[in-house]
């Protein structure tokens, strides 16, 4: 399990967040917010170049939904940490090493099959995580998750429909899907890798069960789906200790892009 020491590289000042419940809660919120932010921003790259007009609108709308979830989670994080930063400052004013998203999202959007593979792996894992937080003792998060889950239901319908089409297609679509799943498979479990402070989360009723249990449930379900399509099962998670703390060049390039406008005039009111 990762501990707080290895999470220091995420360049956060936890002044006022304490060392127990608050600190663990803050890391949980940041992990979820960064996941939603990175996949939302990355998927938004399809705007204008989607496979067909309708799908262009659909994927752009899904990406916007994810960014909306990220914004709401960053707000909760800012309230819990209470260090004076607002949601925008948390979202945009960190160096690339300061982001705490899962390594799965360090893979770029790639081609359409890669985007679908990444969305499918992430959405299924995120759904398992949201389920384990549905009855969380942290009330603002419980209320937010009830809303997020209603939107994520549609997101899963969308990506399930696409996974089925690519998997059932002959030739190139299926080949590309297989290649994407092979490249991302070892990182799929990083979304549900254990978090620093996780025992405190479970003890305080914030998280219903440890991530290992959430991960096992997600993996069984995901492998069942893959088997149904004659696709290989997911490999074990590669290097779970650095699941959220060592990022790729692909992410650094993405970071340079999404901080570009805000960074062009520091402190400006947009």
């Amino acid at each position: 399990m990762t501990d707080f020491a290895s999470a220091d590289s995420i360049a956060m000042d936890f002044t006022g967040a304490g060392d127990g419940r608050e600190r663990a809660l803050a890391l949980l919120l940041l992990s979820m917010a960064d996941d939603e932010f990175v996949i939302g921003f990355s998927d938004s790259e399809w705007t204008g170049i989607g496979p067909i007009l309708e799908e262009d609108v659909a994927i752009s709308s899904l990406a916007q939904d994810e960014l909306g979830h990220a914004q709401a989670l960053y707000r909760l994080f800012a309230e819990v940490v209470g260090d004076g930063r607002d949601a925008d400052a948390v979202a945009y004013d960190r160096p690339p090493e300061g982001y705490f998203h899962a390594r799965l999202l360090d893979h770029g959007r790639g081609d359409w099959a890669a985007t679908i593979a990444r969305r499918w792996l992430y959405e299924a894992a995120d759904a398992a995580r949201l389920e384990a937080l549905a009855e969380t003792s942290f009330e603002p998060l419980r209320e937010l998750i009830a809303k997020i889950r209603r939107e994520e239901r549609y997101h899963r319908m969308h990506v399930d429909a696409w996974l089925e089409r690519l998997a059932d297609a002959e030739g190139e679509p299926r080949r590309r899907l297989l290649a994407a799943l092979e490249a991302m498979g070892p990182d799929a479990g990083t979304v549900l890798a254990p978090l620093p402070g996780e025992p405190a989360l479970v003890r305080h009723g914030i998280l219903a069960k440890p991530f290992a249990a959430i991960e096992a449930r997600w993996r069984a379900e995901a492998d069942g789906t893959l088997r149904r399509f004659g696709l290989p099962a997911l490999p074990p998670t590669r290097d779970p200790q650095s699941a959220r703390t060592s990022h790729s060049d692909v992410f650094r390039a993405l970071h340079a892009e999404f901080t570009m406008v805000r960074g062009s005039e520091v402190g400006a009111t947009w």
């Binding site: 007009l53 309708e54 709308s61 429909a161 089925e164 059932d168």
Partner: protein, 112 residues
């Protein structure tokens, strides 16, 4: 994937939407999609993602039976007696007034 007509081939689907409970379904527009599942997704994105609809109907355009034959819909003879108001009397009344020399009565404004 039972609903694939020809895999991967896009076809038009017509979308009808209800704005609020009790309203009639009105034609909203159309989307292109290869099958019903994706047509429903795209209809949702095009005609429902801003919470502007409470109900959508998504219909494959090829499943719509089309009727636009003027012989059937706009027959050339006077069929006004089939309308709920009965015969159009305006022309006959005007002719009768002409014969009798009576002026057209003023519209009854009612007693206010």
């Amino acid at each position: 994937m039972t609903d694939h007509a020809t895999p991967g081939v896009l076809e038009p689907w017509e979308v009808f939407r209800q704005e609020k409970d009790g309203d009639p379904m009105r034609h909203g527009g159309s989307v292109m999609a290869p099958d019903a599942t994706l047509a429903i997704h795209y209809a949702r994105e095009m005609y429902g993602r801003r919470q502007e609809s409470v109900h959508l109907w998504i219909v494959r355009r090829a499943d719509i039976h089309d009727l636009a034959d003027p012989d059937l819909l706009q027959p050339p003879l006077d069929r006004s007696f089939k309308k709920p108001g009965g015969y159009v009397m305006r022309d006959k009344l005007a002719a009768a007034r002409e014969v009798s020399g009576q002026a057209k009565p003023k519209a009854n404004k009612g007693a206010r």
